[in-house]
Structure formats: C-alpha cells, structure tokens
Symmetry: C2
Subunit: 284 residues, 2 copies
C-alpha cells in the first residue's frame, strides 16, 4: 500500500515542496487534472513518474474552461479517491487549490491560441480553450515543472498546449500519452459516470465508428468527405446519439483537409443523453 501523497492547497506550499525536491536533484513532473481521476489519469501519472523524480498532480476544476450552460457545478469532485489513485500511481504531491487561490479577485489576463481553436470542440465551446490555456500556463508557473503530461484523448487540447508552449517559449517538456480505454473500447473519461447504464453500453459504438473510419482510410479510401459521411452514418446509428461534430482534420494544424495526403486526426464529439463524449484516432 503506497503512502498517500501530501495534499497542498496554496501556491506557496506547492512552490516550497517543488523547490525542496528540485534542491534534492529531482526532476519535476506535473499532471494537470480536473480530478474525478480514472485509470486514464493513472497512466499519465505513471508516465510522469517514469521521467521525473517528483510528480505533482494538480486537481482543479477550472471554472474558466466551462461555458455558462456546461457542467461546472455538477462536475464530479472526488478528492479522497483522487488522492488514493495518485498515490498508487506514484505521485508525490497533490495540488488541490480553491478557486480563489487560482483566480484572485481582479484577474483579467488570458492566453489565446487562435486558429487551432477554430475547429472541432472550438466552435461548440467558445472560450473553452482560452480557459484551458490560461489555467495550464498558470499551473506551469505555479509548479515550475520540467515535464508535463497530458492525454491524447483530449487531442485538440494537447495540440493547443504544445503550440502555446512553443509560441511562448515555456520551459516545459510536454508529453502526450495514448488514450486509455475500457474493455469495450470506450475512452475513459470523468464524464462517463454521467451515462445511464443503457447509454454506457451504447457508448462503445463511438470508438467502433472511429476504428471503422481508420480501417477504411488504411484500406485506401482517401476522400475525406466520403470518410466523414461513413463516420457520421456509423455514429447516428447509435440509438439516441446526437453528433456535435465528426471531422477528419490535419493532425498538425487541425484544419480541414480534402484528401488524406498527410497525417490526419479523426475526432468526434457525441451527445448520449445530456452527456457529451469526445474521442479520436490518428490516421497515419
């Protein structure tokens, strides 16, 4: 039974713990999360532990990345369970600040990565990636990690954070880890717990549709319009599913492409009931 990691709630305590670890010669790893941790997060923590000697997991439900009609208030908060998962996966410190520690009164500054936020989740979640970039840069500046680990499940987020880090010369090595899936293929997500049992069973159809479109592409279909049609057809065949988007884009720029003449990303957002699920596969 591993020790439970220490939980700190202030930036000062976080910085003191990180400074002590760095003074002891340890590489600092950061895994930013919104809590409600699952095996996907545990993999990110293990990945961070492989390349750093002191792993910080931040657990912060970031209000600025939720739209007014989104699930900020009801987003699951499970700190005790999160702490146990962090400990088992090899984390050394959990940073779980209250909102006012991260956003004191009067804060107005934000970071924006235009173009990359214009496709996929961007149009249906205005302000989301601005909120993500701002809080991630803040967490980087609070924890001062050498390495930070994110998941490919949030492919657009990962791509945008990489771009921000490059454009702003942030001295952090950003690593993206593969999506972790349930036995039936559903991408692990904190929001899966919102699903009714019936919808949970149907949700595996999302990844089946993504695999099917990748197989079609690898079999020689390079026309993106035809591939997207097939993807949408497979998704709407899931009873009760409502497509937010189902797109195949340039894996680097996230811009629309007409033919698969470069590495691509097939990415979808699908509502099952009121729960919005996202998933993606890369097409090499």
């Amino acid at each position: 039974m591993p020790d439970l990691p220490t939980v700190v709630t202030t930036i000062a305590d976080l910085r003191a713990a990180v400074a002590a670890a760095r003074a002891a010669g340890r590489v600092i790893g950061l895994v930013p999360t919104m809590g409600a941790l699952h095996e996907g997060h545990a993999e990110l923590v293990r990945a961070a532990a492989r390349v750093s000697g002191f792993v910080v997991v931040s657990v912060f439900v970031n209000p600025t990345q939720f739209g007014p009609a989104e699930d900020f208030a009801k987003y699951p908060r499970t700190l005790d369970a999160d702490r146990a998962i962090c400990g088992a996966a090899g984390a050394h410190l959990v940073f779980a600040p209250p909102v006012e520690e991260v956003y004191p009164p009067g804060a107005v500054t934000f970071v924006e990565v235009p173009k990359l936020d214009a496709s996929l989740c961007g149009p249906s979640r205005p302000g989301h990636f601005r909120g993500v970039c701002t809080v991630v840069l803040k967490l980087f500046n609070m924890a001062l990690p050498d390495v930070a680990v994110f998941g490919q499940k949030d492919a657009q987020q990962a791509r945008i954070i990489r771009q921000m880090v490059r454009d702003l010369n942030v001295p952090v090595d950003v690593r993206i880890e593969p999506t972790v899936r349930e036995a039936d293929g559903l991408a692990m997500s904190s929001r899966n717990r919102y699903l009714s049992p019936a919808d949970r069973a149907l949700a595996s159809g999302i990844y089946r549709a993504l695999r099917a479109v990748r197989d079609r592409a690898l079999a020689g279909e390079w026309d993106v319009a035809r591939l997207e049609s097939a993807l949408r057809a497979d998704l709407v065949a899931i009873p009760g599913a409502r497509i937010d988007y189902a797109s195949i884009v340039d894996d680097d720029t996230l811009q629309p492409i007409a033919r698969l003449d470069r590495p691509a990303l097939a990415a979808v957002a699908v509502f099952l009931g009121t729960t919005r699920l996202i998933d993606n596969v890369t097409i090499p």
Copy 2:
C-alpha cells in the same frame, strides 16, 4: 573602461549563459528593451545590477507591438552603442535575437490583459499591449530571470505587465523605476531623436504641463474634468502640438475617475510633427 558584455542572438545561448550564472549562485536580472538605449535605460540596468548578480539586457525591436502605420521599420537600431551603454551600466549579457528567433513561422499564441488596455495608449494603438505582453512573457520564459526592471515612463505598460505577472503567476519580481529626464524635463525616449531641433526645444512643455496639473491637484483642485481641461490647454499651447490623449485616471486600474479621491496618474501622448511622445506623473 568596463568590459563590453557578450552579445548572444539565440535562445539556446541565452539559456546556457543564464544557467551557468544561476549555477554559480547569482540572481538573474532582466531589462527588456527595444534598443536605441539612452540614460533612462542605463538607469534600469543599474537598478537591475543593484539587486542581481547577472544582468541580461534584451535588445529586440518587437514587430508585434507596432501598428501597420507605426515606425517599426525606421525605429532606430544602434546595437554597438547599446552594447557600450549596457557595459558601462553593469550588464553582463546582451540578448539581441533576430525576429525569426523570437517569432518562428507559425507562431499564433498571444497574451491579453483586457480592461487595463482600454484607456490611454490602448485605443490609439490597437494590438500594441497584446504585442508587449506576449513578447515580455516570451522574454521571461527565455531568460528565466528572478527580477525584471521596467520604466515608469511607459506607465501603462508597467501596470499591464505587473497585472500579467500577477494573473499568470509568473515567478518574476517586476520592478518599476522612475522616469529619467533631460535637463529641461523632457522624458528620455528613443523617439526623441526623431524631433527637429525646434520641436525638441518645445517638447519640454509636455512635462511642464504635467507638473502644472500635479501642482494644481496638490493645491486642492480635485475635479478631474477641470484638471484635464487645464492640462489640455497647456498642451495645445505648445506650438504644433497635437494631443492624442491627456487623461487623469485611477493609478491602479487606469480607469477614468471624476475626483482625485485616490492615487491618480496624469498621462499624455502628444504628437510633435510626426513624433508621438508619451509622459506621465503620479498624483498621490
């Protein structure tokens, strides 16, 4: 005769020099400039040298803070003279990167500090402070200083950078140094060299007008509308002067105020010929 500081032009060389200085236990100071250095900049370098053991001066004419009709192309570039001034004032390293080192192709990310950029220079220089914030954050991430020094002459810039640093948790101690003036009171500026001899002689009227309004306020006039009228009257009395703005604002928020019931900033931008000069005084 002090040694001339080393000039580096790449981020890698900058980081290596800073890392070596830090490993030797030295505090790192940064003075971000656009070059064309004068005694005002020299004071910033001396201020940095008083609180740090390794002073970096960046010399970079930042294209993203110039508007399309502004003086980016003709902004003075005087690196040899700048280097001598840096050495005499106690700098250890000059970072003078080419534009493509700072903005490689494809860079899109920016930092914005709304509200504070809505007054004074903001309306007449759209995008200016976005460019300033973005490049300053980049320079901070490149040089990783402990302390950075800016001048009060650019009061709005100083206020915005302080806000950005606070809001984004940037681990840099920002210090603001008083404006350095010529014998006749004109605030030192790289743009003063654009002035014709006649306009140069008239330019001292700007600071006289600012001192007069401060004196009026200290003598008991607290009505901001009346103070601004007097300030404008003094400025338009300068032959050929064209006022861009002449405002008295809250020294903290830079928002308009009706009465001097809190610390205020009297700030002006005035064209003499085609040269735009800014200056300010605080009213305690």
